[in-house]
Symmetry: C2
Subunit: 329 residues, 2 copies
DNA sequence: ACCTGCTGCACCATCGATTGTGCATATCAT
DNA sequence: ATGATATGCACAATCGATGGTGCAGCAGGT
């Protein structure tokens, strides 16, 4: 049952050949190494008989490869990141690579250690998604000669593929504005962290298109409670619901929604509400919500194209348009 | 920048010691190997100077370990599985292991290949979550001597930690029944796949507690469209909404919800509705939904306890109670 | 002076696959 | 028959870390 794992030496012995011949047959270089087809067949057969499996650590040690490709993420249990992970898996499988996904809990130290470990295992390349310190991580990869690409957050040292937050937020803003004919309408932005790159891009668009007033921007974090508090305070202050409401994530939306449920439906229906993030149940509420969904699939495909074309070394940013889940603005 | 990675030999040379001494210092066995503290300090210093990183492939080759622990999942982009992944990460980090998560797309072949690859990299142990063929995968691990535990789906060969679907579905059923005083009430179960272990357990509970009639069980798959069709057909047939509605997943619920929106609110509010799965937005609909959430955290903690205690070899099933997101039945 | 027992370390085989090189035997041309 | 080229394979070094073993040097006891 738990019989010792067999090696190329076992196969060599059983098939009366040498280890180098066996290795050549099993890794496909046998024609190059002029092993006869007859011998190759024999070796193959013996290998299956002994249920041989290449020891990838030994192989990797010799070749400085591993056949594994990695992706680091902040979190697994998040729609967007898990979607990135899923598409990373799909694309990796197409390329016959073994994808491993690791989350680092938004902790820069965990991030660095994890990447060190992956590098120490000689991963063939790394996708760095949502790292808190993309450039540090990138530095680590560079100095180890590991190909890498930033996803979702831009780095300055290497190629990055990120969601076009400015564009998405502009589209959403235009749409919301279009739904409110009035001049002098009241508008606000809820959720996210001002210093966060993605949030700041969305805020920039919102300011360019909807309102320049900083008092209308409530970047109170990603958390539902804070968002609920923020919208409530705002409405109490103004004495009415904003006519345009831009919510920065589904989590924040949860809080906002808890508040909106306390308001009369007729009032809520007068507001144009948008959410930068998507959730299937949001399209089923008793009022419409315009949503923007980040195109994880396209981002990963793009990143892989760059990797395949070995263009990952050229710094630069590729923007991927998110998907608008509402009528054109 | 991309200077060759340094090895213990480089450190040995620079610090005028030997490779074995360096190795001992760097892997913490130096006291056992009677290296003086002075030498140890020196080696440490040189190691940082050369920004040394252990080559884990070489180390693993020698020791038949890797420091990596794995989890295979059907999908990343799913609330339940990504939650399992997240807790797996957390628990692994606590134990100072490097967790890697891989999805296998519910494809038995991908499943086997992936596990083979992980084994070939000498992962220290494997959590098998939601595998289509847990026993085959387990067999593979056994024959390679890799510790493994099934999560979410039971295997016959090794220890399994699964959600107590029968209990959860019983509780939910009792609750729903309690909300409908009438005798002879109409009830149905929507969603899931009859042959699926988890679904069948839930159906078993539903049958024991609510209705024995097979015609009331619509295991029409996990897909939203099919569920929508199923509930619509059912209601058309019976001429009214069921008084008890047990939906087997949030995805299925999406379809059911699309249909419910076409019905008068008063009617919908007369039904007792439950969903075996949880989503934050489901608690915000215009009618109440009782939810059951699988306790991913407890499952993973349990699985890790078994692993730590080396009890993973004893076959047997540990049932973990899911969390009831409704008042006690 | 001599044996014992410890300290502190270095030597070297080993894990399993890869790959440059070398060396027989076979094939062919002249 | 002979040198030239091709064919088919085996040998052995190598990747980097590990750990069993051995061996100086020194303290302490008699």
């Amino acid at each position: 049952m738990t019989g010792r794992k067999s090696t190329i030496y076992d196969i060599a012995e059983k098939s009366k050949t040498s280890a180098s011949t066996v290795a050549a047959v099993l890794n496909g270089t046998w024609e190059k190494r002029r092993v006869s087809a007859r011998t190759a067949k024999l070796v193959q057969k013996t290998a299956t008989e002994l249920s041989y499996r290449t020891n990838l650590q030994a192989s990797g040690l010799r070749t400085s490869k591993s056949g594994m490709v990695g992706m680091v993420l902040p979190l697994h249990d998040n729609r967007y990141f898990s979607s990135l992970a899923q598409h990373f898996e799909n694309e990796s499988r197409i390329r016959n690579l073994c994808p491993v996904v690791v989350s680092t809990l938004r902790d820069p130290e965990v991030e660095m250690n994890t990447v060190q470990t992956l590098i120490a295992h000689n991963i063939d390349h790394l996708f760095i998604a949502g790292a808190t310190a993309p450039d540090q991580v990138g530095q680590l990869c560079s100095s180890a000669g590991v190909a890498h690409i930033n996803v979702d957050l831009p780095g300055t040292q290497c190629r990055s593929v990120i969601s076009d937050n400015y564009w998405g937020a502009s589209q959403l803003s235009h749409y919301l504005v279009g739904r409110v004919a009035k001049p002098n309408r009241d508008a606000c932005f809820i959720g996210g962290i001002a210093s966060d790159f993605n949030t700041s891009e969305r805020v920039r668009a919102f300011k360019d298109i909807v309102t320049k007033d900083d008092k209308d921007i409530h970047t109170c974090g990603y958390d539902a409670e804070q968002s609920e508090i923020a919208i409530r305070a705002r409405v109490e202050l103004k004495g009415r619901l904003p006519e345009i409401l831009f919510v920065n994530s589904t989590i924040a939306f949860e809080g906002v929604f808890r508040f909106l449920k306390t308001q009369p439906d007729v009032d809520v229906n007068k507001s144009a509400i948008g959410c930068y993030d998507s959730d299937p149940f949001l399209s089923h509420l008793h009022f419409p919500v315009a949503m923007v969904r980040q195109d994880a699939e396209k981002m990963i495909k793009r990143a892989y194209e760059l990797m395949d074309a070995k263009e990952h070394t050229k710094p630069g940013i590729d923007f991927i348009q998110p998907i608008l889940e509402f009528g054109a603005p």
